[in-house]
């Protein structure tokens, strides 16, 4: 079987991604020191989502692997999202 068809990612790519991730961590810390209520929460979570996307795409190789992995991952996240949404149909309207 196709056991050796691997894409080798140069060190440089990982270091760049790491720099971006650390930068984004810094931004989210800085932003959340200013209290803007709901917006703070939204920004912090948005940045966390973007960061996790970088981890998934580069560190976890979704970019280089079979598309199927990405489809599955997105599907699982969507499912989790919908479950949270449906749960909140109870709490938001109680």
């Amino acid at each position: 079987m196709e056991n050796s068809s691997h894409h080798i990612v140069p060190y440089r790519v990982y270091l760049i991604i790491l720099a971006i991730l650390i930068l984004m961590t810094g931004i989210s810390v800085a932003v959340t020191q200013i209290d803007l209520g709901v917006i703070t929460i939204a920004v912090a979570l948005l940045l966390a989502t973007v960061k996790s996307a970088f981890v998934l795409i580069y560190f976890m190789h979704l970019k280089f692997d079979n598309r199927m992995f990405s489809i599955m991952a997105v599907g699982v996240f969507l499912m989790i999202g919908v479950v949270i949404f449906v749960t909140f149909l109870d709490y938001l309207f109680r």
């Binding site: 079987m1 056991n3 691997h6 080798i8 703070t40 912090a44 981890v55 998934l56 938001l92």
Partner: protein, 198 residues
Amino acid sequence: MEVHRDDEGSKIGMWLFLFTEMVLFSGLFIVYSVYRYLNREAFHQAAAHLDVALGTINTIILLASSATIAMSISAIQYQKKKQALALLTATVVLGLVFLVNKYFEWGEKIGHGIYPGSETLASYGHGDVLFFGLYYFMTGLHALHIVIGLVFIGFVIWYIAKDRITHDNFSVHENSGLYWHLVDLIWIFLFPLFYLIT
């Protein structure tokens, strides 16, 4: 039976396992978001008790360890065994530093009487009880995953040293990387939820 090797298959298996881990934690995220919604003010205040600097350092440590393990997989493909071992060792060291920081963080909180079931914590009110209950439960479960990941990486180091993982047979190594990134991924969400949204 003949030995049957299917790297793609074992990678699918690993991803499926990671999905179960994500769903496992998502159960806790549901609990967190519901209680945050119900105790907005208390969660707001309680989060201010956590040390943002320490949390930020730990975040950077985990991100760096993710980068080193990812690079070690490139190293093994480049057939640079020494570099791969060095990068993996760096990952383990970073993971241990994370745990040490966590230990001091927990120790400090427990020293102040903030732990589940304590009188002090109960006197703060319901929101704080739930916030710190979730804090201990979620970071504790996360730390447990770090420990498991470290053991896993330990095996990978052993296998590389013994040449059981090589440039054309490194599926186990790759899967250990996936697992470690998942641990990172969860922390990326835990960090803002507990430390930043104050």
